[in-house]
């Protein structure tokens, strides 16, 4: 039995050794906002935060999470970045977008007014095949309204 703190909620569940955090979130807890696009830590779609630090949940074993607080897109639904992304049109198909917003919210929590270079550095691990990058940059610069 393991205990997880996800978006402020406490969960107790059984998980076999080797199960990824992404699979637990999506399949055991039904938190499908976290997407799996490559399954091996190359694309960033599955990004969640552990104690505010972005991690790739598809290559994070659930047993290594411990007491760290997990934040998924479901915990960030009212974050001002969501509006900023929509207003800037920083999403097309939207499959990478939850991961983008999770990464971006970690960035702006530490650095509310990041420069263009800081945005590019922090967000380079989140791939978007539709090519929304210019609008993502715009959204992160505009999130404070």
């Amino acid at each position: 039995m393991i205990e997880l703190d996800v978006n402020g909620q406490r969960y107790e569940l059984e998980a076999p050794v080797g199960r990824s955090l992404a699979d637990v979130l999506r399949d055991d807890l039904g938190l499908i906002g976290t997407k799996i696009a490559c399954g091996e830590g190359h694309c960033g779609a599955c990004t969640v935060q552990l104690d505010g630090v972005p991690v790739l949940s598809c290559i994070t074993l659930v047993h290594t999470v411990g007491s760290r607080k997990i934040t998924t897109i479901e915990g960030l639904r009212d974050h001002p970045l969501v509006d900023a992304f929509v207003v800037a049109d920083a999403l097309q198909c939207g499959f990478c977008t939850p991961g983008q917003i999770v990464s971006a919210s970690a960035l702006v929590a530490a650095n509310p007014s990041p420069s263009k270079d800081e945005i590019r550095h922090a967000m380079a691990g989140n791939l978007c095949r539709c090519g929304t990058y210019p609008k993502i940059e715009e959204a992160i610069q505009a999130w404070q309204g």
């Binding site: 999506r26 039904g30 938190l31 499908i32 906002g33 976290t34 997407k35 799996i36 696009a37 490559c38 399954g39 091996e40 190359h42 694309c43 779609a45 998924t72 897109i73 479901e74 639904r77 969501v82 509006d83 992304f85 929509v86 207003v87 049109d89 999403l91 097309q92 198909c93 939207g94 499959f95 990478c96 977008t97 939850p98 917003i101 945005i119 590019r120 550095h121 967000m123 380079a124 691990g125 989140n126 791939l127 978007c128 095949r129 539709c130 090519g131 929304t132 990058y133 210019p134 609008k135 993502i136 940059e137």
Partner: protein, 753 residues
């Protein structure tokens, strides 16, 4: 009255004639320019759901009893299955069914490319299914793979017969020329890599089968599954509510849908067959490589006297042969032409359409060769293009329904004029330059496509159509069009799409056709509802219909009367006003095409071969722009994919075995946010006066087309090097620089004339 007429339909450059029924009067186009809702920047109406992770993609569908499939794919480029034994797999934990080559047509015992599906397993979890696949015992007989495209042409291994096209007299054109340039251009295999992998769920229920699928063509999947299962089409329901990208690769059911259908049938449970990222990079289709041996000839004044070449499409073992020679045939007014296209069939994964298939590749060759010609003639490259401007379609002398390319060139001038300044900003090993390339492509869409619009007592409208929004924002565009026609705010319009059981037929979302096909149908449906509202209002308020209009959520009369829309719709309580609309025919005897030009500014480190793209200016004629915000996103997306195609993306294959080496996103280099240049967008927002009730052409594909040539031409401008092979890696660039140096050292007079 329903009228039966014949019209021409084009998808990805392939034309078919078809019958359509037109049963309403054609509407006049709206005036040019931004309107109340259409032509404005409207954030996508499903944006919050997608951003919050609430949108349900196929990958998110959860059904009771859902099984997961895994596929045994051939590890060999060409092999024969001498024997296969599924028994150990069938006995494994959690496994509910296993199928092999004898069970369905889609599984093969003679795989002709690495990744060809041979067997499949359904189990309670994906992990169990994948583990069971390892237990399938296969005795392979490896066969010699055919991998070289020129060799395939020589041996007659062709997907289609070779095609020759001629007009005028190519040889005479060469004789009349003052300058001739010949070169071999090559483009690589690139992969779509939509972030949602190809996948479907099959669920047998209610005497039929429901397919949840990440697709660009709900109705194509419906027809294919009906054929596969022998079910009537209405017993096949296809659902795609939110879709995680396609770029051309998701136009068909693929191999995974028949596998899911069969495994679901055998188990009596729903089955998901989802490709892994590695399968996606091997077996989900690709943009095929090309070899282009091409010639351009012109008089001293720059008038082209001949264009021609041999084009080899290095197609895998399936797919189709796109028109790599199309840009050469269509872009310029050249009288003398001869093109030959060979479609080499190889033991490599099948080709699938990828954003402007053929034209991306062909434009790279043609537009670079034209700059080589311009350099030889000492004519400004933009001027050279203007001198060869085509006023009508040169394939069959049809007039264009609209062509704003001259206006695009005019708007390019200030950006093009920066090249002295840009060159002068070269510093140390960093050489700077500017290049441009033109764009031509289809994108007119066509019938059939249908929409319904229902207006309820609250004055809100629902657009109902079984089209798919693959991420382009077509859902939002439909809402805008209905809102404009009904004179109501966009947030009073809702769109129901993505389910073949809940709405009429819609076009496929490929060939830049969703907006030009579905937009006019949606407007016609909204206009039908509007007509009924006005007829009812005229009776209720005792005024003439012809003085009434819908504006700002009100019914307004020319004599100053004004009533809230809900005064009429509210009368009806639970009743609804139902409008229906269809896409009308394409303009008779005309060629509907999109045009554009892009200007690139680059910096090249001549010591290391690094290329940095500083800026791309994209100027395109796509007719009326429905959503300026969404349109700019489409242009940026096309350019960024083009950037990857030009500089970093390449599917690598072991030339000895035909095995695919780049299967993961750390080896296959997609552009990241850190790679994006400044992008300037200028859309010539003039409706095509002959095309539908909107005058809107397609936009999805045009922006990717000229990117590679514009960048390569800018590299030539910066360094003098002719880069003729994609991707332009450092190695490729340093090689081109060495060749340019060697050419400079040749004594005058020995260079080819």
């Amino acid at each position: 009255m329903a009228r039966l007429i014949k019209t021409e339909k084009e998808v990805e450059g392939r034309y078919t004639e078809q019958w359509i029924v037109v049963d309403e009067d054609a509407l006049d186009q709206w005036p040019e320019g931004p309107l109340e809702v259409v032509g404005q920047a409207v954030p996508r109406i499903d944006g919050h759901d997608r951003a919050r992770g609430l949108a349900g993609y196929t990958a998110d569908v959860r059904l009771p009893g859902l099984l997961q499939a895994a596929v045994l794919r051939s590890p060999h480029a060409h092999a024969r299955v001498r024997s296969i034994d599924l028994s150990r797999a069938l006995a494994a934990d959690g496994v509910r069914a296993a199928i092999g080559p004898d069970d369905i047509e889609g599984l093969t015992d003679e795989p002709a490319y690495m990744g060809a599906p041979v067997a499949a397993v359904a189990a309670d979890t994906f992990g169990q299914a994948r583990a069971a696949v390892w237990l399938i015992e296969v005795e392979w007989e490896e066969l010699e793979p055919l991998l070289d495209p020129d060799e395939a042409v020589k041996q007659g291994s062709l997907l289609d017969e070779s095609e020759t096209y001629e007009r005028g007299d190519f040889e005479r054109g060469l004789v009349e020329a003052d300058a001739v340039v010949e070169a071999e251009y090559r483009t690589q295999v690139v992969l779509h890599n939509a972030l949602e992998t190809h996948q479907s769920i099959a669920h047998w229920e209610d005497g039929g089968v429901t397919i949840y699928i990440s697709t660009q063509y709900i109705w194509g999947v419906r027809a294919a599954v009906a054929k596969l299962t022998g079910l009537p089409q209405d017993k096949v329901r296809v659902i795609c509510l939110a879709m995680g990208g396609g770029f051309g690769a998701k136009n068909s059911p693929g191999d995974y849908t028949p596998i899911a259908v069969e495994l679901a049938k055998r188990t009596g449970q729903p089955v998901r067959c989802a490709l892994t990222r590695r399968e996606e990079n091997v077996a989900a289709g690709n943009r095929n490589a090309t070899i282009q041996r091409i010639t351009a000839a012109a008089r001293a004044d720059g008038i082209l006297t001949a264009l021609g070449g041999e084009f080899v499409n290095a197609i895998g073992h399936g797919g189709w042969s796109s028109s790599t020679e199309g840009p050469m045939q269509m872009l310029y007014a050249c009288e003398n032409m001869r093109t030959v296209k060979h479609s080499a069939k190889l033991n490599l994964p099948p080709m699938a359409a990828f954003r402007a298939p053929g034209f991306v590749e062909g434009t790279f060759g043609l537009e670079c060769l034209l700059d080589e010609l311009a350099a030889k003639l000492d004519i400004d490259p933009l001027e050279l293009r203007r001198r060869n401007y085509a006023d009508s379609d040169r394939l069959d002398e049809r007039p264009f329904s609209s062509k704003q390319l001259a206006e695009c060139y005019r708007r390019a001038e200030p950006h093009w004029a920066r090249r002295d300044e840009v060159r002068a900003s070269s510093f140390g090993p960093w050489k700077r330059g500017v290049g441009l390339a033109s764009q031509i492509w289809y994108g007119g869409g066509g019938p059939p496509s249908y929409a319904w619009v229902r207006v309820g007592s609250d004055g809100h409208a629902q657009v109902v159509t079984a089209m798919q929004d693959i991420g382009t924002g077509s859902r939002t565009a439909m809402a805008q069009i209905a809102a404009e026609e009904l004179g109501i705010p966009i947030d009073h319009v809702h769109v129901s799409l993505g389910d073949s059981a809940r709405g009429p037929y819609s076009t496929l979302s490929a060939g830049s056709s969703t907006i030009p096909s579905m937009g006019p149908a949606t407007r016609a449906a909204a206009a039908d509802a509007k007509r009924q509202i006005i007829e009812i209002a005229a009776q209720r308020f005792d005024v003439e219909e012809r003085v009434l209009d819908l504006k700002g959520g009100k019914i307004v009369s020319a004599d100053g009367g004004s009533w809230d829309l809900t005064e009429i719709t509210g009368l009806l309580e639970d009743a609804q006003i139902l409008g229906k609309g269809a896409r009308g025919p394409n303009p008779t005897g005309m060629r509907v095409l999109t045009f554009g030009v892009q200007v690139a500014e680059v910096a090249v480190d001549v010591e290391t071969g690094e290329v940095r793209v500083d800026k791309i200016v994209a100027i395109h004629d796509v007719g009326r722009v429905i959503n300026t915000l969404g349109a700019s996103s489409q242009v940026e997306g096309g350019i960024i994919q083009g950037l990857g195609h030009t500089l970093s993306e390449e599917r690598l294959m072991d030339p000895a075995s035909g095995r695919i080496l780049t299967q993961t996103l750390d080896t296959y280099k997609l552009p990241t946010i850190a790679d994006v240049p400044e992008i300037v967008i200028d859309l010539v927002d003039v409706p095509d006066p002959h095309l539908t009730n909107l005058g809107a052409k397609g936009l999805g594909e045009p922006p990717i087309i000229p990117v590679a040539a514009a960048i390569a031409n800018a590299i030539r401008d910066a360094t003098g090097a002719d880069v003729r092979s994609l991707p332009i890696s450092r190695e490729e660039l340093l090689k081109a620089l060495r060749e340019a140096e060697a050419k400079k050292r040749e004594p005058v007079g020995t260079a080819a004339s």
